[in-house]
Amino acid sequence: MATLSTEVPDASAKPSGQLRVLTTLLAAAAALILAKAFGVLPEWLNRIPEWAIPPTAQVLDVIFDFVQNDLGLIYVTRFIAEGPLEFLLDTSANLLEGKRRWPFLGPIPWSAIAAVAAVVGYAVGGWRLAALGAGTFIWTALIGQWKIAMQTMSVIVVAAPLAFLLGLTLGVAAWKYGWFERMLKPVLSVLQTLPFFTYLLPAVIFFKVGPTAGAVATITFAIPPMILMTTLGLKKVSPEVIEAGQMSGCTRWQMLRHVYLPAARTEILVGVNQVIMLCLAMVVLTAFIGMPGLGAKLLAMMGSFKLGRSFEIGVTIVLLAVTLDRMSKAWVVKQPVHFDRGTPWWKRHQMPLIALALFAGFTLLAQLFPILAEIGRKQHLSQGKEIDVVIKSVLALDAIKGTTEWLRWFLNVKVLIPFRNTLLAIPTPAFILLVVAFAYWVGGRKPGIYAAVFFTIVAFSGWWDRSVITLYTVISAVALATLIGIPLGVIAARSEHWSKSILLACDTAQTFPSFIYLIPAIMLFGVNDVAVVFSILIFAAVPLIRYTIIGLSTVPPEMTEAADMSGSTRRQKLMSVQFPLALPTMAVGFNQAIMFAFFMVIIAAFIGTQDLGQELQRTLAGTELGKNFVLGMNVSLMALTFDMAISSWTQKRKRALGLD
């Protein structure tokens, strides 16, 4: 932010009061740091002493224990887990992967599913989506990953509809009752920044290990955007449509059912798209609590450094993600088409009928030709070993090996380690003051106060050093991502053609489950800090590039034309017209990059980090719910601090520029 803001001198110079606060904060921080450097800082000002740290985790454990056992919440949750939820999961598991449970029909032949996917693809988006749908499932079957892919899918087909229904209901309630929305809002923003490990452990404890816990964690993870989109859509219904409904004599229920919900269709379907994508992302991650499926396989393969198989699984996950995303997005923009009067029934319902016929046809064919039902162990076309050899020999090429090794050395020794040590050397109060100064400078008073409160809580959580390491990873990765992403975005925004294709690539990349980003990082850099930073870097660069392009290309043309006619060079135009106007949008991308980084840094615990994520991952093995919660809150609070500061800046800036 610092570099960005200096480029645009604020038209309204900061009032002197603000400047005074800033100087005070920075001076206090500097004094503390200097005191430490000269060795005169008392130890209790450097780090919060052990005895001063409240036993939050233990207290939480007692509370959780009380709620869980004494209040009997566990019986309720276990009932849900073993009752309806398990029933649904068993049914889908039987149909998709052939688990021996009611209704004992499955597994459905892969060819039948691929055929239905093709018809659905055609119905929502024409031949290309039909090819994508069929292609994805054929690939999955041929490569020999059908069973694990279906294990993953069987959770998604249960979790996504449930998350949709819950999100819709809560969204309607939030729209209807102001107090409920006010209550829900802070919970949602915490939920959206909470690391996924924090979703997993409670799910395991309350809903027993296995698919049910995975499904619960997935549902919880996917609900917030559905709630937000539902509320947004309902609020946007045009007043005349509402009045037309009222004048038609709708009762309240009729209004909701026939007027509001259908009129908010677009936003609700966007919510559905997000629910599906988040479900996929989360289901893959539930591998960490031992859920079988694509995620678990990928985890195992990466753990044993089998790059070929990891790559193949990665492709499957990406294909699934792209297919689900494209199809649900095509559904969003799909408008109903009318049939002329007198069109026969079968023609009106052509698509479902074809799908049904193909489904039945392939199911029957599969009885005759077993290869259409299931592709056996020896029949699949996986080239895992060969790809492994290729990848490893390419990586061993002198040029590549030289580059990656130099990069690894350079980043590690010259950048990352010194930076980390510096951050760790700063006394806790000074660190908090610096963060507060940043939040205050960027966002104003309210974010500044929140920063102070949030970071003080983190300081007293007892995990300060690990929090600082988490923050260090995030900052380094986002800084590097900014250095790479923004120039890339600027260059891409120069031509319409490039903007379009890079935006498309970014949109596609954003649908990948975050887990995928670990694959290239591990391939290139092995298992170490640089790989962690690299995986976060590529993950965080995506929104940066995306919003830079969007920001630059949505600058109103009359302004760039005015700059052209004033005789500005391309550089002048960029610096004095396009950047200032695009900055609020770019800040949204920057904010997202930070949020993504906080998310990814926890996943990277898998590679072996020393931050909060590592501790979080350890809690998964046991039942330390309190500790898990404290660690998760630390991540969430740090992320929220940045989120608030940058969002507040964006809003103020947009208002100042009249872009709202």
Binding site: S238, E240, V241, E243, A244, G245, Q246, M247, S248, G249, C250, T251, Q254, H258, V259, P262, A263, R265, Q335, P336, V337, H338, F339, D340, R341
Partner: protein, 342 residues
């Protein structure tokens, strides 16, 4: 219902927008102006308006945007709850209606057409038109029959299965009109129904609307910001400004005797001869000896131009549509109006 009772009768209606409007209205000193109220943090949507709509009459409410005309009409149908005063529809105070009775009233007596149509995007033309019928629980077959009838009435035959986005603006508004007529309402509200249409289509829709009204004879409250449209359609015009009704009268009277300066400004540019009818300019017979064929009182002075120029009589008898002489027109006065030299 005794004859002569107004269909809608609004007395001293107030509609204030703000934090606690009812308390504010009670404590507000009399004679507070629109700007005084705004200074207190409230917006006077409707300010002490009294107006009556008679059975079978077309009342046009005219005013610039923000004058409160849409707000007033929404008070008539209780889309807005009023802050003060009373509104009676068919002699019933609508403020006292329960939610259920209000829904019944709208389901059976009121229809409304909106400026930007307010069509439900996910429903076909047929389903949009049948929507109010569906809401009141009519069975599928009945409502289909009725909807098809109204669709035919507004000239959209053959488009029943189209979706709103597949229609032009004019066609969409026909759907809006059809929907509002589906329940055969007694009272028909039209909120700037033709403002979103381009001028040629607007003209065509006005003609169409006059045709429908001739056929159906509803009680109509029509909102517009277009004075020409008001003059063309209205039996009576109410001109609003800052939430107040400045004048409510026949087009002839508004053009000839504007009550306030504001109304006068509107009428300045108008060619009065095209608006004023012979009966409006006529004076009582009062024993004048009249001779010759009478002229039609329902024609405008402009339509009578040729007669006025060619005739040699000083005083012309004016007859109503039944041929009975009701008044006398001074040819000189009429010619002055025709030539714009009055």
């Amino acid at each position: 219902m005794p004859a002569g009772t107004p269909v809608i009768s609004a007395k001293n209606v107030w509609k204030l927008f703000g934090p606690s409007p009812e308390r504010y209205l009670k404590s507000m000193p009399a004679g507070h102006s629109f700007d005084d109220i705004r200074a207190d943090g409230y917006i006077a949507g409707v300010k002490d308006a009294s107006i009556q709509v008679d059975r079978g009459e077309m009342l046009v409410i005219m005013g610039l945007s923000g004058s409160g005309k849409s707000t007033l009409v929404r008070c008539f149908s209780r889309l807005h709850d009023i802050t003060g005063g009373t509104i009676e529809v068919d002699g019933q105070d609508i403020k006292s209606l329960s939610e259920r009775d209000l829904i019944e009233l709208r389901r059976n007596k009121m229809g409304m057409v909106f400026q930007s149509f307010g069509l439900l995007p996910h429903r076909t033309v047929l389903d949009n038109v049948a929507f109010p019928l569906e809401m009141r629980g009519q069975d599928r077959h009945d409502r289909r029959e009725r909807a098809l009838d109204v669709i035919k009435l507004v000239g959209l035959e053959g488009r029943e299965e189209y979706f709103p986005r597949e229609l032009s603006g004019g066609q969409q508004q026909r759907v809006g009109i059809a929907r509002s007529l589906a329940i055969e309402p007694d009272i028909w509200f039209l909120d700037e129904p033709f403002s979103a249409l381009d001028p040629l289509i607007r003209r065509e829709m006005q003609d169409e609307f006059l045709r429908l009204q001739e056929m159906l004879g509803k009680t109509i409250v029509f909102i517009t910001h277009d004075f020409d449209e008001a003059l063309r359609l209205a039996d009576r015009i109410a001109i609003m400004r800052n939430g107040m009704v400045e004048q409510c009268d026949t087009p002839d009277q508004i053009v000839m005797n504007p009550a306030t300066e504001y109304v006068a400004k509107f009428t300045e540019e108008i060619d009065k001869a095209r608006v004023v009818h012979a009966r409006g300019l006529a004076t009582p017979v009062n024993g004048h000896a009249l001779e010759g064929a009478p002229i039609d009182g329902g024609s405008t002075i402009h339509e009578l131009a040729r007669v006025l120029v060619n005739d040699t009589r000083i005083l012309l008898p004016v007859a109503n549509d039944k041929g009975v002489v009701t008044g006398v027109l001074d040819r000189d006065v009429a010619l002055n109006m025709l030539l714009g030299t009055d």
